[in-house]
């Protein structure tokens, strides 16, 4: 697999900023993912060295948490809730619609790089189920129609 280009200075900056925090690893991983969208495999040795950990330990942490990713995401990430309250409000039909509309499954990114789709188990928006989050914005009472309207609008902004 070829390595994707990523901003090495950003990674170094994040590590330098946070490495002296108690329990610095998660804040560093968050910092990197916030800055460049994912955690590059070949940033792992640098992180490990800064924290005096083994590469295996750092890798083990990255792979344990669902939120961290090791490949670049689409321009926007859609987190769709799969949990009970949303199921009670027909999230399964919504899920089918979204997958068909985007032409991707969970953990995948559309061919044009516009959207990634991830499952999530509750967004705390259960009183307005079914829910999804696009980047940092929650959307409630989502229907197939409102989903289409939301992403059409986003595509217009992106264009």
């Amino acid at each position: 697999m070829t390595q994707t280009e990523w901003d090495r200075d950003a990674v170094t900056e994040v590590i330098e900023q946070k490495k002296s925090m108690p329990g610095a690893l998660l804040p560093i991983l968050h910092g990197i993912q916030d800055r460049i969208g994912f955690i590059p495999e070949d940033a792992v040795p640098q992180i490990a060295k800064a924290l005096n950990l083994s590469r295996a330990e750092v890798h083990g942490v990255i792979s344990f948490y669902h939120y961290f990713r090791t490949t670049p995401p689409g321009k926007r990430t859609i987190h769709l809730c799969r949990a009970e309250s949303c199921q009670a409000m027909e999230s399964e039909a919504l899920e089918a619609h979204i997958k068909a509309r985007l032409g991707i499954g969970y953990h995948e990114t559309t061919a044009d790089g516009a959207f990634s789709l991830e499952p999530v188990y509750c967004l705390g928006n259960c009183a307005c189920s079914p829910s999804m989050m696009i980047d940092h914005e929650v959307h409630g009472r989502v229907t197939p129609q409102s989903f289409d309207a939301i992403i059409n609008e986003l595509k217009e902004i992106a264009a």
Binding site: S20, M21, P22, G23, A24, L25, L26, P27, L29, H30, L51, N52, L53, E57, G60, V61, F64, Y65, H66, Y67, F68, H79, A83, E84, S85, C86, Q87, A88, M89, V120, Y121, C122, L123, G124, N125, C126, A127, C128, S129, S131, M133, H136, E137, V138, H139, G140, R141
Partner: protein
Amino acid sequence: MITVYVPRDSSALGLGAERVANAIQVEAAKRGAAINLVRNGSRGLYWLEPMVEVATPAGRVAYGPVQPGDVPGLFDAGFLEGKAHPLCQGPTEEIPYLKNQERLTFARVGITDPVSLDDYLAHEGYRGLRNALGLEPAAIVEEVTTSGLRGRGGAAFPTGIKWKTVLNTPAKHQSAGQPIGTRNAPEGGSAKDALPEKYIVCNADEGDSGTFSDRMIMEGDPFVLIEGMTIAGLAVGATQGYIYLRVEYPHADVALNQAIAAALEAGYLGDDILGSGKRFHVEVRLGAGAYVCGEETALMESIEGKRGMVRFKPPLPAIEGLFGQPTVVNNVISLASVPIILDKGGKYYADYGMGRSRGTLPLQLAGNVKRPGLIEKAFGMTLRELLYDYGGGSASGRPIRAVQVGGPLGSYMPESQFDTPLDYEAFSAIWAVLGHGGVVVFDDTVDMAKMARYAMEFCAIESCGKCTPCRIGSTRGVEVIDRIIDDQDRAKNLALLRDLGDTMLAGSLCALGGMTPYPVLSALNHFPEDFGEKSVAQVA
């Protein structure tokens, strides 16, 4: 100048509150009306969100649910004077859903500007802390014990007892050869910042589906949580607090950090709290999408920078917790309930409730229900009152068939159990869980075999992997339920499923594996027909 309120609560934003706020600004400017727009928390009447309120001489008047397109019409109708309009709900405090609540912990949520310290102080904020500063640590703990407060994060352990253990356990001096947990502790930190110290950890992971009260507090009144943590610090002699916040709550992250900065600036946090010489700092740490990190020992591993693997207990976190030090781990609502206890006294709080469930519980009504929302009430109301008096029945208009209470590890309850009072002991007596107070409603189109399968699948996805019954058992559980749904060897597989449930119940280290049988077996026991069984409910 007229004050207009539009929530900044993330659920209200998810229904268009930001666009409504903008539309109101634009319309007011167009008409030359001077308004003061406050972004409050949510009142928790989610079927009315975005709910706009306007302050009138006779009190606040509510309009909802408001969409941007409604705004010109609202101005035409004179909503700035609280006049009639089809969306007008009348005086906010008179809406029965709200009026009949007993809001102690949520007293300010939806009323104040969440990140305004002045507003917090004007609404009885920090009175608890001022009282606590005049008390000995043991007396603070005593007040919390008197209140009868039990942990609101799920396990309902008495908070006073936990605090007492931490108070009575001295922090350890750490040698150069630090234990694993402290390996990432500051190496070159100044002596003042070095260990030993005790910690207050706020469990803000709120991983349970169907729950959102922690989020509402953090977004709607972050100061009350910070005040509660500061009081906890004074009570046990801890100087550092961490709020372990799930990454799914970015708005709470912003509100908490704004409030922390304001509290620090005004001397309510820091090295010399209100001139008392007492020190307390708070920092927000983000999780990374692992349900098991809500379990307190996994949570501490995560803050320490490790995989969220559950630790064996003992030692209890109260004795050897974060970085090996005595640590209070409490849920958001537990900590946010402390300020009023220190303000009005433990007895005042304990006077609410029933049996051994004292005070109030913020119930969270979600799923297929007409009026979903947050209802804070003293313990003791029945589930049926909650579902019908507050919730108004199902959203679909079909009969309610099942409710799951207490998150994804809670039992599914059939209509025959709807008269159960909301009380920890009454729930455990019927093999159900009140937990965090989340209630998810399903109408009669629900397929309970599918819900049981989902519970197993969830356990498989979120298992930390430490014990076999949870790690492997949950995957086997999905397969067994699939075979039951497929009608392959049904009787044999049903027996196998019960067996598996027993193994998971008995052989798991934490409640993830240990309680997954609750949703699974309760579904099977109460809704056998969905599993192709004709027999009546069997007690687990």
